[in-house]
Symmetry: C2
Subunit: 629 residues, 2 copies
């Protein structure tokens, strides 16, 4: 942060200390924005710079970072995203997630790029940001209430129904480790248990209203690009508009990679019942969009009694349908919608909830959990009623829900060593609904992800086997989904560095921006002259900080492991007898460390790599922790 560029790109960051109830404003110099961008980049920067190693993620010492990115609120499709990060109470590692919606853009319109929440309030509070003013308000009356109710109440008491609210739900209040943060009631910073961090700080919500139009260095350039991408959206994202992210259910099932019954199978016999078309034809009542986006991939469903699913909570994404559906053997779409609503209303990550319930079902079927443990619930695969019940119990930390609120890894530890084989998790975070056995690059990514298993900053081999998808990243040839080789590692690394850039910028994964268009967007927004080389380094830098943070927390290459089940083969389906070879995977990981410039035992960037990424200060942080890089 040494170059002061008067008149250059700049912004404001709000620091909120809940222990002292004080706020402060920081104005970093331009180079800070250019190196870190926002989102994952900011999370990496603040966590590494400001957290002491080894702190309890649910203690006041943890910090919760809400951050926009340079593209957040820029008027173009995919820019309605925002990031949140903290040390994860689920994994003890780097915690990072992004959500769409409108809250992030509103925060930016209020004049803020990020909020750093420190300390812990001694009673429930919420933060009210109206343009440049930030006020910490009492939230006793909001504590324990469901998310839609909280949003309604805040808008009412502040007298402005355009206020946008990010909040933790009752689950986060109860420190459910798989609780998420939600904004706009149904857009989730789902992963890493960030809702519990917010709950631990007694921070119920952040309400925001801004009136400053977004400042663009070259408005015409941005708007021209915005029109271009809107045209592409019309041409190419029809399936998404029509069926939402659930559009993928049938295709993945056909490919044999729809996670089913806790990853025991890759095809689900009731797939038609939980498919995108089925949802659209039966329960869908509206489509919804994020800021500036015309894709309308968000669902709004309504289901009558006894499910009682209301419009406010939107409708299930692909991840939620698979996690609460096929993964639990549940083919009842109404039950899935209801469980999804329970998650949204209580502020929980549908992926971790579904994967943890599927884990519990397999334990139940194998006698490791009994009706005594479940309070009489028949927790067999396919029992939709049981699934819905347990989601509710987790949110309330009641009965079996108290155990499962810890996530599948901690729950397995408590149940006993035999249960661990059923815990589909990495570094303590539950697997999302993408199956490495049909996309082995994704498997590399599961192993390496600094948040534990994740799909949002991962590679999806099927998309990146075509040269056209890779040439913008400097790679001329694709690699087939099942190939596990150094060439695949190379593609994986390029893609994932770019994903981390995108999660710093922040731009939605679904919009098919070419790298060149992103460069122009950044230029239009900031007035900088940049290029894809600089931008991909932003992503590599964010990832490097995350891995360095994890190293400091005691994570090493030994923690970059897939659950053994992923090395077994399916007993039928298109991927029958095509297991991932464990030796090949271990070789691939070694290749990755070398390719990425990571110390191979520690699995974290070497000093030279950190210097190459302009992260000299991280070398000092790591050495202070007594690690050799």
């Amino acid at each position: 942060m040494t170059t002061k560029t008067p008149g250059g790109y700049c912004g404001k960051i709000l620091r909120v200390n809940l222990s002292t109830l004080k706020t402060a404003v920081e104005e970093p110099e331009e180079i800070f924005y250019r190196l870190y961008f926002g989102g994952s980049g900011f999370t990496g920067y603040y966590l590494l710079k400001e957290l002491k190693p080894g702190i309890d993620p649910l203690s006041p010492e943890n910090k919760l970072i809400f951050s926009t990115g340079i593209l957040t609120s820029v008027p173009t499709a995919g820019s309605g995203r925002n990031g949140a990060g903290a040390k994860s109470p689920l994994t003890g590692a780097w915690g990072d997630a992004q959500a769409g919606g409108f809250w992030g853009a509103e925060l930016k319109r209020a004049g803020w790029d990020a909020i750093i929440v420190e300390g812990k309030a001694d009673k429930p509070v919420y933060l009210w940001i109206k343009d440049t003013k930030a006020e910490i308000r009492d939230a006793a009356h909001l504590w324990g209430r469901l998310t839609a109710d909280v949003e309604r109440q805040i808008r009412e008491e502040l007298g402005d129904d355009k206020i946008r609210v990010a909040q933790t739900g009752p689950a986060g209040e109860k420190l459910v480790r798989i609780a998420g943060i939600v904004n706009d009631i149904n857009r989730y910073y789902g992963r890493c248990g960030l809702g519990a961090v917010m709950g631990s700080k007694m921070l119920k919500a952040i309400a925001v209203r801004g009136h400053k139009p977004v400042k663009l260095a070259d408005k015409d350039k941005v708007l021209s690009l915005s029109r271009q991408i809107a045209g592409v959206v019309k041409q190419r994202l029809g399936q998404f508009t029509q069926y939402g992210t659930a559009a993928g259910v049938l295709g993945l099932n056909t490919m044999g990679i729809l996670p089913t019954r806790n990853f025991q199978q890759g095809q689900f016999e009731k797939v038609e019942e939980i498919s995108g078309p089925k949802l659209t034809e039966t329960l869908l009542v509206a489509r919804d969009n994020c800021y500036a986006c015309g894709v309308n991939c968000k669902r709004v469903v309504e289901v009558g009694a006894p499910y009682n699913v209301e419009r406010a909570y939107g409708g299930p994404e692909y991840e939620s349908i698979a996690a609460l559906g096929s993964l639990c053997g549940v083919g009842d779409l109404k039950a899935i919608c209801q469980a999804n609503q329970t998650c949204n209303a209580n502020g929980m990550d549908t992926i971790s909830v579904g994967t943890t319930i599927a884990f519990a079902m397999e334990c139940f079927e194998n006698g490791l959990l009994t009706r005594e443990d479940t309070g009489g619930i028949d927790l067999s695969f396919g029992n939709a009623e049981a699934m819905m019940q347990v989601v509710e119990l987790i949110a309330k930390r009641e009965g079996i829900g108290d155990l499962l609120a810890e996530g599948n890894h901690r729950a397995a530890k408590k149940i006993g060593q035999n249960a661990m084989q059923y815990a589909m998790q990495i570094k303590g975070q539950e697997l999302p609904m993408h199956e490495p056995r049909g996309k082995v690059g994704l498997g590399i990514g599961y192993a390496l992800s600094p948040t534990g298993a994740d799909h949002c900053h991962n590679m999806h081999d099927t998309e990146f086997q075509r040269p056209a998808a890779l040439q913008g990243l400097g790679i001329l040839e694709g690699v087939p989904p099942l190939e596990l080789s150094a060439a695949k590692v190379r593609v994986y690394r390029a893609v994932v560095n770019w994903q981390h850039f995108r999660n710093s910028a922040i731009l939605c994964n679904f919009l098919p921006y070419r790298q060149r268009q992103v460069v122009e967007l950044i230029e239009g927004a900031t007035g900088w002259t940049t290029n894809v080389l600089e931008l991909i380094k932003v992503g590599e830098r964010a990832l490097a900080m995350a891995r360095a943070f994890n190293a400091r927390e005691g994570f090493t290459a030994k923690d970059d492991v897939l659950p053994d089940r992923l090395y077994t083969t399916f007993s039928d389906g298109p991927l029958k007898d095509q297991p991932i070879c464990k030796d090949d995977m271990q070789e691939a990981l070694k290749t990755y460390y070398a390719m990425a410039g990571y110390e191979p035992e520690l699995g974290a960037p070497t000093a030279a790599k950190l210097h190459e990424l302009d992260l000299g200060w991280v070398v000092d942080e790591i050495e202070k922790a007594g690690l050799k890089i």
Copy 2:
């Protein structure tokens, strides 16, 4: 080479076997061009793929690669360049050099991207390429003749005075290890002793005439860029037009980094006498240009008796003025012009010739060479007459010239261990006229360059301390010239990867193209969609191949060393008491290996790095040689 792209960018490569006197045509697929581009990239590819390790560079087993680049002959300033490469008889390492002029563009207009010369003729021959036809002709009548004479004769006998000729001179015929290849009589592939390789093959010349206009995918785009850069040339390169590369003499002297008396000093008391303005005011009779370029940085001088310098051989560049001038303590510009002409007429590298003579002068002053050794010549610093005489003797391998024709490293070995301290060389190649003590990044580059000491693919710290010069390479902040740090290594690496791209593309170093303009030029020429990330990887790939080639030839990190003199300080001048710290340099080199993904003992790319660069086949080549990477 697996993707056949019908209608894509493609070209032809001519393979000439002088042992069998047969020629063959190869048509690589588009991806070959996109990965290797030409120039240094082609040299790396063919040497690594086709040479057996350990061959004698002067044997028929060596191959001599002439290669254009994708930008060669594209109608824009700086595109009149061409590359030549072979295993170097001077160093035994990767040999690579580029020259300007018109020959390369003519070769391309004849329809060829490169010529691979193999084997050895049993009598002198030359190659005559007229468009698609290639003919091997007798050259007995040309053998031993000076370069201007040879060009004249070839044009005459083939009846076309637009023929362009690349040739080796009498020095190359005599296997002088510091002989270069020349085209257009005065544009030199100077370094690495490539003239001796051409001589060893008994290939006197390659005469070329082409009539096919260059094919451009988007002519308008190229011409628009060409006009842009022509405008920049007018605004910014006036000094170059006015004074040629000699424009630098005075400024470098002021900075204390004009190499003087074999690098004993950095300032020369007679600097005014050999300066750019002096040359322009006294001896200059015309300026000359390369293909499509309006800079006119080339000099044409004329000096009367007794020097007898004719116009045909042009005039001295900065390198020649310093090497034959200040480095030898010679302040007589006429003598420098005459020695320059002797080098050009006989086909020798003025840098290595000057540095070797300066070495001999220091040996002479210290009693390691005597008048007996020199045949009576008083080889003291400052003796212009002696300097001119010895240049002639080297070209003829007569008297002391036979010893010095081996270059300063081999000569020092023959003179005895005490002489080695005066041999300013790295890996056996003589230092060019740039002083690391005032630009420490350049010192890193001297140590690491795969050709031994070199300035053409090196970093010049003074240019790259400004953010504006670096931002196109993804680096936001410059580093001062004297700083030796990991930050400097980072800048060095980015710059040098880009230089290797430029030497593959091939584009003149002097033209101030921004990276973005180069991307657009490439796109306009080829029809590809590319970006700076892809292009800088082309450079990194070329360099990685060079270092891998060297590793196979037995070069390791131990050979990446600077002469001890560069760690001493100047006794006066602006850099007094500011030596380069040897420990810091060694640390910087270690940082470089780590940052570049090199195995630190071998100093060559790891298997992972090679895979990252799409060079899986090189892993096999290196492993075949029994090396562990």
